[in-house]
Symmetry: C3
Subunit: 438 residues, 3 copies
């Protein structure tokens, strides 16, 4: 990689303008308000179906949406500010690519989910799904944080959003797998996509930027803002598009307990693996969140509160061990430099969460779910498949996700290797000054 | 301006006690719970009109209110902490004047909007409107940040809240203009009011405090907390008092898209106007929010998603250019020292937003809005005016706002020139130490 | 106290694992989803009682819950980061003990409130109540901040949660006292419990850590994040478990006004008591919140807006004076070292709030409350007691709370004196380095 020029004066405006104009053009041609958002259509619905404004999905979903939105922009954004000289880039590039991803994924998800008579009809659920997709993009961002230019990141976003929608379509629409909180579609996909990109973009001389790849006292505190907001609102994340009523409430409770349990497991493990019995803020900032990831698939199921806690303990434990022992090995042996440790927070707990979904789906009985089976496992409820078959489909979903993430991440990694994309030289990684007036 | 004494030991307690006691007295005489907040009246309503608790406006508006509340106290408060030695004052004076403004504006708005039989009846919408008015005050605060004492700021708040209510009354009640998200009433009004105050309070020797009028690495990160929360919750801001159902949901979506698009435009423009192709945190902190301002009037209308994006791009672009080129000219040629650049974030995008409202109102047809016309343009719906006339009224509303803001801001500026109000000397601007135990 | 070893390598994992496994075991045996969270039961209820999903308590309580949750983890967590070298411990130990407390209090409160046929049935209200109990624990934590190990804190949490549930049961279920926002059960209880612990754990040589018991410029700003979020969401806190409809809305409004008024009183008093007329961030960070505490009991009653303001002014005034004059006396004369000044923010305003509840209950008439009396004072509404008797019960409730807090706090203090619990030596208080990789 020679000839690094990190001057973005023309390139960044060009790619931003290109992507934004393309988006506007496609929106102009394809995107319409749905019948809950359109003035005429909603008032027709009020009249024809004798509805009240309270039936507008806005009142059932908007608080959840706002929590998810906070996680994406505050949670992810600040979590990554831990680097001592890369906090501007962390929070601002997170902002930039998320702002693009939410627009672009409305289109890609819309083509798969709500394309009727040549138009994409959008409403509050489209916004939640767009934020979800953005979550996966930001997980991938975490793996390459500090080593990529905003141009590379926008390009990554452009392509990954498309592959995310393809994978999600296969899982949810074709396989009929359930994944309301995205253990597979968001966490596993985003993590392994990012890890493969990082593998392809491997920098053998990254140690030249070693002294900047750490935190300071206050940068660790800024990161805790991200951690706490992610932790707080994760119950909203997992439940945001769950079915109404019991499903949303149950998902919230399961996630709440799983997170609490994973927090205790993280503190315990962090002290245990340190020679001096001290704790490490990196573990607290990250592994305590693994409890949210691990119930992403099964949170809406009849997991039981104590089941959620066991899952959380396991996730916090595995995640902390990953930070301590696995991340160094990934870098030295597998040449995967994982800046934020997304393998520990999203990769392994994502797979665990998918497998937990496989298990809990297999255990589903009509006796436990009653009429509620229709919401959780509709295909089992109407007799089109057995719980065991549903379970197999969940497992296939995990494999498909891993496959698409690994292949997609590799391909995108190769595309990002183009030298003209403004990536920093090995001596200037994790450094705000190359992109910012500091 | 001679004889600056910034010792507040008696003056600040005196003005706080005076304003708070006056408020309590007026509340005691005039303010009552409305029929949704009063125990007796709500239970009568439940019975007489066969309502359920879900019909209580609380459940339809409270989540929006809390988001707006977060914007006012966290958003504005932290956005202004960017100054390296003035962060305490920024967040704390924001806190002080907002705490007073929400109380005072309940009274002033109440006299115009909900004064019946000698009493002001208040509920959740009054709180939202009070927070809205407070937004305008804090915008004006941004223009004079670092150059005014808390006593001046409280005096400003006292008077500006009254003028805000007058202007709002003329626009909404007399002209029948629509402005749910306040492009005119909040942003344009607050910005030009503040700019005129700053003009009157012009300090030719402000360069004596030059070295403190910048940021540090971490103060810029604190400011980003403000930015991101403002950006996140702006959809709630614009929709908080929109009509129920489709109107709220549509406003949220339009604002969401406008903000996302203005973010890309801001990054692009920021890199473009910098000789080294680097980006500037000041632009990201501010101009990325212009997308929220620009759809303040038209967000509830059938703007279409791609229309919202075009507006956002325009606003981000104009705002960033303003920071780069216009702010220095305002200071040197027009003698307007605009500390936070409110002209770029609220002034120009506010006017743009008002004009966009003029345009979108003119284009309103019954075919597009159907029965929903009643909510968006009630006077057009019931045939009392045409869309074209509505559009003209919107334009008159903008002119009235500019007029009242410019005259009011000048008058208040002259009042604040009194030397006894504890304002800092030119050598001590942007300095916490004069007001705080540091 | 000799032989301080602060190495937590085995002890912390041991206590975390013990407490978490115990919790999981008890959950497995006793805890079930309630009929709004269980798939089968909720769908039966939909059918049998002709309900709609909107009747699910989730939609009426979840936004309030999320605000409360934010206060517990962001509000309390960041408020305590003001110490210059103890910010990691403040936010992280807050996180740890809160994560345990929410689980443990589901059990202890469940045994008293929702134990039927050998099972505890839980839903969204259980989660809110668990967060409330956690608030009390974190108040106690504030009194001993910087002087206790995480092991001591977990032990404290384990025991205090039990006593909290006992006290709450006596007040609400036996005495029939009202305390929706917890002036007594949460603030008074948590404060005096913590103060007594601090008394028992008195450190005569704490001045050896004097130089770390202060703040830096940026640590004070981090603390303001906590302050502002607590202030913002306090209306949600006080109203989260109030009765539906007018009660929730009224509680929100009363709290909003009380907080605003206490903010002005705090600024005024802070400037007044400082020789140079400067303000002190410690007062702003804390005393401005006293307005929320003081209407914890009476917020749901027909307090009237101006009544709420008077309460707020009083609370802000008393609280600021406490920080200035009382805290040093407590430390020197009564040997109570109150790190965060919880006596000023929670203790005195909590008692004031309880007494305000005594007063407002005594004034309750059927003429004022109408049918709404059933929600606010059910025992008065159905004629089982008079308003005067209700008022007496409120007063008894305060005395019981003080008694249990003082005795309980002392006992727990003695237990925490065991030398094997990893508490820091006097020379190492308020120091992150003994517990953290810094």
């Amino acid at each position: 990689m020679s000839g690094h020029t990190t001057n973005l004066r023309l390139k960044l405006p060009l790619i931003c303008v290109f992507l934004q104009l393309l988006t506007i053009l496609l929106f102009a041609v394809f995107v319409c308000y749905d019948n809950q958002t359109n003035a005429k259509l909603w008032h027709e619905e009020l009249k024809l179906h004798n509805k009240s404004h309270l039936d507008n999905e806005f009142y059932l979903r908007y608080p959840s949406f706002q929590d998810v939105h906070t996680m994406i922009f505050v949670g992810f954004g600040f979590l990554m500010t831990f680097l001592k000289r890369y906090s501007f880039s962390s929070v601002a590039f997170n902002f930039l690519i998320a702002a693009f991803a939410i627009q672009w994924s409305i289109l890609t998800q819309g083509f798969f989910h709500s394309f009727h008579h040549g138009k994409i009809y959008i409403g509050i659920e489209s916004m939640i799904n767009a934020d979800f997709c953005t979550g996966a993009i930001l997980i991938s961002f975490g793996a390459v944080l500090g080593k990529t230019s905003p141009i590379q990141l926008l390009l990554m976003t452009w392509l990954e959003v498309i592959l995310f929608a393809v994978n999600e379509h296969i899982l949810l629409d074709i396989l009929g797998a359930k994944d309301a909180g995205g253990s597979m579609t968001i966490h596993t996909f985003g993590a392994y996509f990012g890890l493969m990109m990082s593998r392809v973009l491997y920098r053998p001389h990254l140690d030249k930027s070693k002294e900047r790849e750490g935190s300071t006292y206050h940068s660790d505190l800024f990161a805790m803002i991200g951690t706490i907001f992610l932790w707080l609102f994760w119950p909203s994340f997992n439940s945001a598009i769950a079915a109404h009523g019991d499903d949303q409430q149950r998902t919230v409770m399961n996630t709440y307990f799983s997170l609490a349990a994973s927090t205790l497991a993280t503190f315990a493990t962090s002290a245990l693996v340190n020679a001096g019995g001290k704790m490490d803020m990196v573990h607290i900032q990250n592994a305590a969140l693994a409890g949210g990831v691990v119930v992403g698939t099964s949170g809406e199921m009849m997991l039981t509160p104590f089941g959620a806690m066991i899952a959380g303990v396991l996730a916090g434990f595995v995640s902390t061990l990953g930070f301590k022992f696995l991340t160094p090995i990934l870098a030295s042996k597998l040449k995967i430099q994982d800046t934020c440790g997304v393998h520990n927070l999203h990769g392994m707990p994502g797979i665990l969460g998918a497998l937990l979904g496989v298990l809990v789906a297999a255990l589903a009985t009509h006796d436990t779910y009653g009429e509620g089976m229709t919401d959780v496992f509709p295909l089992v409820a109407d007799g089109r498949r057995t719980a065991a078959y549903q379970s197999v489909c969940q497992l296939i979903g995990l494999c498909v996700t891993l496959g698409i993430a690994v292949i997609g991440g590799s391909l995108v990694g190769f595309i990002l290797k183009m030298t003209c994309l403004g990536s920093p030289p090995d001596t200037q990684c994790f450094e705000d000054q190359i992109y910012w007036e500091v």
